[in-house]
Amino acid sequence: MHELSITQGLLQIVLEEARKHSISKVRLVKLRIGELTAVEPSSLTFCFELLTKDTPADGAGLEIDVVPIKLKCLNCWEFFETRDASFVCPACSSFNTELITGRELYVEQIEGD
């Protein structure tokens, strides 16, 4: 359950940004989380509700945009999404591929007044 440590990092960013922009009540936090990260959205939501108690983000919604694992083949330049955790190019079977998305773990936006 490392979602708790991840939520601590998340909350720190949210509260810092809220202070910086004089937001006293955070209404919504938007996250982008890649499918390759080891983060479980429902655990994260649970931890977020727990840790935001009595902070300016108490009761704020958490919107999680899950980003699929996308790769680029460096041999034939095909772009593809992984299936069955295979990072091999489906077009030319090359192993020489580069991860484009799937490792995201960031706060994209906060909303509040």
Partner: protein
């Protein structure tokens, strides 16, 4: 009011890890983050490694466990500098915990520092600590479907040690399937098939360590 943020949630950890990395480089110590599920053989691998390489190089060990100092006791018996971290419930080590631990070690005197992470195939893969490489162990008794189920650790590791190959006649596990699916996730993975019990295959691992320590010092 909508505020665009775009900040990495792990930024605090990554900052600390980068600072650890700088300190490790300054002291010319090669650092490994050793990860696996509980019981895959991390401590046994360390015991074998220390028995073979201690003397040839100066080794330090940081032991991460949720509770107890059983592993640290096993290793300090071998005469290597060992520091125990008890995470008190946390399922992984992070940059900050490592920082607290290595301040108890004389980094200047070390050639190799191995951090034994908490036994867990998921969480440790997400947190960097300033290591040069991540090394993971998968034992054959865990099954050959693990790369597909836990791709992140296989993706992030430089070395995969397939341990307990002496058990192969007794378990339904295909080494080829492990290798094939791991390489599909990470084609740069160096794979060693080993048994810490019989010591089969460990020579390749020792040589990899020697080469790495030599090029980093």
């Amino acid at each position: 009011m909508k505020i665009p943020v775009v900040r990495d949630i792990l930024e605090a950890n990554e900052r600390i890890a980068a600072e650890n990395r700088r300190i490790f480089n300054e002291n010319r110590v090669f650092v490994l983050n050793l990860m696996s599920a509980p019981g895959a053989g991390k401590t046994s691998l360390l015991e074998r490694t220390v028995d073979t390489l201690n003397g040839e190089m100066q080794i330090g060990i940081i032991e991460g466990d949720i509770q107890s100092s059983i592993d640290a006791a096993r290793l300090s018996k071998k005469g290597v500098a060992t520091v125990q971290i008890n995470t008190d419930g946390a399922c992984h080590l992070d940059g900050n915990m490592i920082r607290g631990a290595f301040s108890h070690l004389d980094l200047k005197s070390l050639d190799l520092l191995i951090v034994e992470n908490v036994g867990n195939l998921v969480c440790p893969a997400e947190f960097v600590m300033g290591e040069d490489h991540k090394v993971m162990i998968l034992s054959v008794s865990e099954g050959d479907d693990k790369p597909l189920k836990y791709p992140l650790m296989f993706r992030e590791s430089s070395v995969l040690l397939i341990n307990k190959i002496d058990l192969l006649p007794y378990v339904d596990c295909s080494i080829n399937k492990i290798k094939e699916s791991s390489l599909k996730i990470n084609p740069d993975l160096t794979i060693f098939e080993i048994s810490c019990k019989t010591q089969e295959g460990l020579i390749g691992w020792y040589q990899w360590l020697r080469d790495m320590v030599r090029t980093s010092s």
